[in-house]
């Protein structure tokens, strides 16, 4: 499908002509080519075309939004009327607004078409690599795709931004089997604008599949203790998600964010710097345009432990009177620490090397608990047996202040660059 600029222009004009004070339109067209491996066998090639038109109208500070994917003339005309109808019945809110822009810009990244023969070659080589080097591994599912997408943002306050992007993505879920015994499944992913690397060398795939074979036999921890948890880069994304979830529109508008009065304050260990950098050369997935239609910029969320920004959209910003985030708050990069991974391990008397965290969302106070999956006991500075039925509990706010060290080594996932982080004082409990 092609990006139809005329369609978007005409929608914007029609919304204004029919009574909107402010109008915004976003058209996204996308084509995906996807190979799927199930139970170790490549068994599906899938191609999908999608187009999606989102319309927003604001009239007398009342807002309506509607999304369709039928782009026929009659469907679009109906959608325009329905969007205005939604705005009419909504309630006035001064915070309802659209982004402001100046000159038109187009951003391009990644290839325009997939290199299908090379995709197949990379995938075949990877399946062979797994057979040869990880004989106990079972690839429950692997999805390897290329997505070409084009997005056009137009609105009545001068926004005219287009982004054309091509991206390869790999995600895989796997476990290991020996006789009748199975390891807990694990999963990981990687994204890139090219196919330069063999898949086994991408992100943490090789390491995690290797570790998984050692997780077939597990031990149940006896009792409960306060210890250090060495969080792996894959698992770190879960905890960063819990933290950044407290900085968004809903918790700040409702006043339930524990950080609502903490902007500019030291809320984490000074050794932690967390950035959101969609435009960083190390990031393949970054968007040049925010969800509201602003040009995205790189920003720091935590600078040496100090809270630098909330992650508010335009509505949240207007509602709270706080500054809007300069990007979507994703594409995390954590600065490397000053210790080798092995040295971090040497500093831990008793704890857990946490491979995956299966836990509930933290409550509004930041308390969390969950199961340590794909994890190993650490005793006297050495990695011990794999664990089962072991729970970790703590509080996100306390965790950020209890960092004992950050590794020099980091994993490049394409959408994030993350190290290992050692955190002290967490409750680790077995049976």
């Amino acid at each position: 499908m092609e990006l139809d600029r005329d369609l978007v222009e005409s929608c914007k004009e029609a919304l204004l002509k029919k009574g909107a004070d402010k109008a915004g339109c976003i058209l996204v067209v996308q084509e995906k080519t996807e190979f799927t491996v199930n139970a170790g066998k490549l068994d599906l090639l899938r191609t999908t075309e999608t187009g999606q038109l989102s319309l927003t109208a604001i009239r007398d500070q009342r807002k309506g939004s509607l999304t369709i994917n039928d782009l026929s003339a009659s469907a679009v005309e109906t959608a325009i009327d329905e969007t205005l109808g939604l705005a009419k019945i909504s309630q006035p809110d001064e915070a309802n607004d659209i982004a402001e822009g100046d000159s038109p810009k187009t951003f391009e990244s990644g290839p325009s078409h997939p290199d299908l023969p090379l995709m197949q070659e990379r995938l075949t080589d990877f399946l062979e690599h797994v057979k040869t080097h990880h004989p106990l591994a079972v690839l429950d599912q692997l999805i390897f795709d290329f997505t070409r997408s084009s997005r056009l943002f137009l609105n009545s306050k001068g926004v005219d931004l287009q982004e054309d992007k091509g991206l390869y993505a790999l995600s895989t879920m796997f476990s290991s089997k020996k006789g009748k015994k199975s390891a807990s499944f694990n999963y990981t992913g990687y994204e890139s604008q090219n196919l330069e690397k063999p898949l086994d060398q991408c992100g943490s795939i090789h390491r995690l599949i290797s570790e998984n074979a050692k997780q077939i036999d597990t031990e149940v921890l006896d009792g409960k203790f306060q210890g250090t948890v060495l969080i792996s880069p894959d698992c770190l994304t879960d905890f960063l998600g819990m933290f950044t979830g407290m900085l968004g529109d809903y918790p700040l508008i409702s006043g339930t964010s524990p950080y609502k009065d903490s902007l500019g304050e030291l809320i984490a260990s000074p050794c932690l710097s967390l950035h959101s950098r969609p435009l960083d050369p190390e990031i393949a997935t970054g968007s040049h345009i925010t969800r509201d239609g602003y040009i995205a910029q790189n920003t720091s969320i935590l600078d040496h432990g100090k809270l630098e920004t909330f992650l508010l959209g335009l509505y949240g910003s207007k509602k709270t009177g706080l500054a809007r985030s300069l990007n979507n708050g994703d594409c995390w990069i954590v600065d490397p620490g000053d210790q080798d991974f092995e040295d971090l391990l040497k500093g831990i008397d008793r704890g857990v090397l946490l491979g995956r965290f299966s836990g509930g969302n933290p409550n509004e106070n930041g308390d969390f608990s969950g199961v340590a999956k794909n994890s190993f006991l650490i005793e006297k500075a050495a990695v011990g047996p794999a664990l089962s039925e072991t729970m970790i509990s703590g509080n996100i706010r306390d965790m950020l202040k209890s960092i004992e060290g950050i590794s020099k080594q980091r994993i490049h996932f394409g959408g994030a660059v993350l190290p290992w982080i050692a955190i002290g004082g967490l409750t680790i409990s077995g049976k």
Binding site: M1, N38, A39, K41, D43, L44, L45, R46, T47, T48, E49, T50, G51, K63, G64, S65, L66, T67, I68, N69, D70, E82, G85, L86, I89, S90, Q91, V138, L139, D140, Q141, M173, K177, S182, A183, S184, F185, K224, D249, I253, S254, G255, T256, P258, G359, G360, N361, N363, E364, D367, S369, G370, V371, K373, S388, E389, M391, S393, T427, K431
Partner: protein, 458 residues
């Protein structure tokens, strides 16, 4: 939308095993945060897809359009995709299934407009504001999803379905000792809004109960970590049935390393426990997510997974049924028009027993009554974790203080062996959404069960 019979003329494009599906998902979402309309949106996603091939070499293609030319194009593209993978392979054939039917759960009442829906949400919000003024925040979300599908297969199935679901979520939060404490509740289930909800007033009593639980939770205590004798109320029994047992017995997970691969016809639970994935009706009523024909064209039938403690069956699509040399069970479901069917649960439930809940509580000296789950996850080993957002201590056979948010965990096949009582009340949870490459609405249910659980906490 196009009816299945209207697809019939496109059968001439089929040369191999083929499924042609036309689908539209229409969703409405209204969200009020402290009375402000944060979301007032409608989303319609529709189009057509074709899947061609089978047994290890599938091709799939979709387009956001509907019509004979589109059908011809996507069938041809799906065929090409299948051929890319089929080179040099010979992996057997798929079982034959064929059925016809129209399964329409649309309301016969006059439809409400978006303004009336918004007013409904406002009515709930106004009641909360007036009656519970000490809340720190309140969220009211109204969410409807209509999934409408027409399917034609080369084996001769022609089926149309409209499966709507209408839900209202309410989240209340108050401050306790300077910290926020919240409790959410979901209402609704199968049917369009008019069939699920009459007036905001019909929910007021439930909101009052939710608020009272919240106040007790704010004054509550932390659970003590470690194994405890517990009563899992129906909501938690349902998520246990779905997450911890159900997923391990989906045939694709069995092939992918699930521990259940070695348990067929073996004792995996107390003989009191039977677990069924219901297709469309159970206990004389329609299930929360009725599936009459799956997205491969197989008539959907109940799957008895555990019968009196013995593992009896896995859930199958056509391909896994061929591999296991059994019949497909009608569990192949797709979420969007552009999604391929995957093996998914439908309405998974532990069957009720004969005990009374109050007797079960009275039989515990030191334990917990766990009422409502948050999110949950489970493993191919059946090790699970569920957040618990509402529960009470049990001391000397009586309910005690409320507990704050906690987590429970364990190995489900081990837990089911500790079951010593099942209540005689069956309750469905109709708000479930399962994630497995694609999201999909599911039903979960069960009675209250008495068992030993590993509590998180402090």
């Amino acid at each position: 939308m196009i009816q299945a019979s209207e697809l019939r003329k496109s059968a001439s494009f089929f040369h191999d095993y083929t499924e042609l599906r036309v689908q539209q998902n229409k969703s409405v979402e209204i969200a009020l945060v402290n009375g402000d309309v944060m979301r007032n949106a409608v989303n319609t996603t529709g189009g057509s897809s074709a899947r061609v091939g089978g047994c290890g070499a599938w091709g799939f293609a979709s387009a956001p359009e509907v019509g004979t030319k589109t059908f011809e194009r996507i069938v041809e593209r799906a065929s090409r995709n299948a051929k890319v993978l089929a080179k040099g392979r010979k992996e057997g054939s798929l079982p034959e299934t064929r059925t016809e039917g129209c399964f329409d759960y649309a309301t016969e009442k006059e439809r409400m407009g978006q303004k009336e829906l918004l007013d409904f949400a406002r009515g709930i919000d106004a009641y909360i504001l007036k009656n519970f003024p000490n809340l720190q925040s309140r969220v009211v979300v109204l969410r409807n999803l209509d999934m409408e599908k027409s399917l034609l297969t080369s084996q001769g199935t022609e089926a149309y379905s409209l499966t709507p679901r209408s839900l209202i979520y309410v989240d209340m939060s108050l401050m306790s000792e300077g910290q926020p404490v919240n409790l959410f509740e979901g209402f609704g289930g199968l049917g369009q809004f008019e069939d699920q909800f009459t007036t905001p007033e019909s929910l007021f009593e439930k909101l009052q109960i939710q608020y009272e639980h919240l106040v007790k939770k704010a004054e509550g205590v932390h659970a003590t970590a470690g194994p405890k004798e517990c009563i899992l109320d129906a909501d938690l029994a349902g998520i246990l049935a779905h997450e911890a047992i159900g997923h391990t017995t989906e045939a694709d997970f069995v092939l992918g390393g699930s521990v259940a691969a070695h348990y067929m016809d073996k004792e995996v639970a107390s003989p009191m426990v039977s677990l069924v994935d219901f297709a469309h009706h159970a206990f004389g009523e329609t299930c929360p997510i009725p599936v009459h024909v799956d997205d491969e064209g197989t008539p959907a039938e109940d799957t008895t997974i555990i019968e009196n403690g013995i593992l009896k069956s896995y859930m199958h699509n056509k391909e896994s049924a061929a591999q296991f040399e059994t019949a497909p069970t009608g569990n192949a479901r797709a979420f969007l028009f552009s999604d391929e069917p995957l093996i998914r649960m439908r309405n998974t439930a532990i069957l009720p027993g004969t005990s009374k809940l109050e007797d079960m509580i009275a039989s515990i000296d030191d334990g917990y009554y766990l009422m409502r789950p948050g999110n949950g996850q489970a493993d191919t080993t059946s090790e699970f974790m569920f957040a618990v957002v509402q529960g009470y201590e049990i001391k000397n056979g009586k309910l005690g203080k409320a507990i704050k948010d906690t987590t429970i965990s364990g190995v489900a096949f081990d837990l089911l062996k500790t079951v010593t009582a099942l209540s005689d009340e069956m309750k469905w949870v109709a708000t479930g959404m399962c994630g497995k490459k694609q999201p999909i609405p599911v039903g979960m249910g069960g009675p209250a069960i008495k068992c030993t659980v590993n509590m998180g906490g402090r």
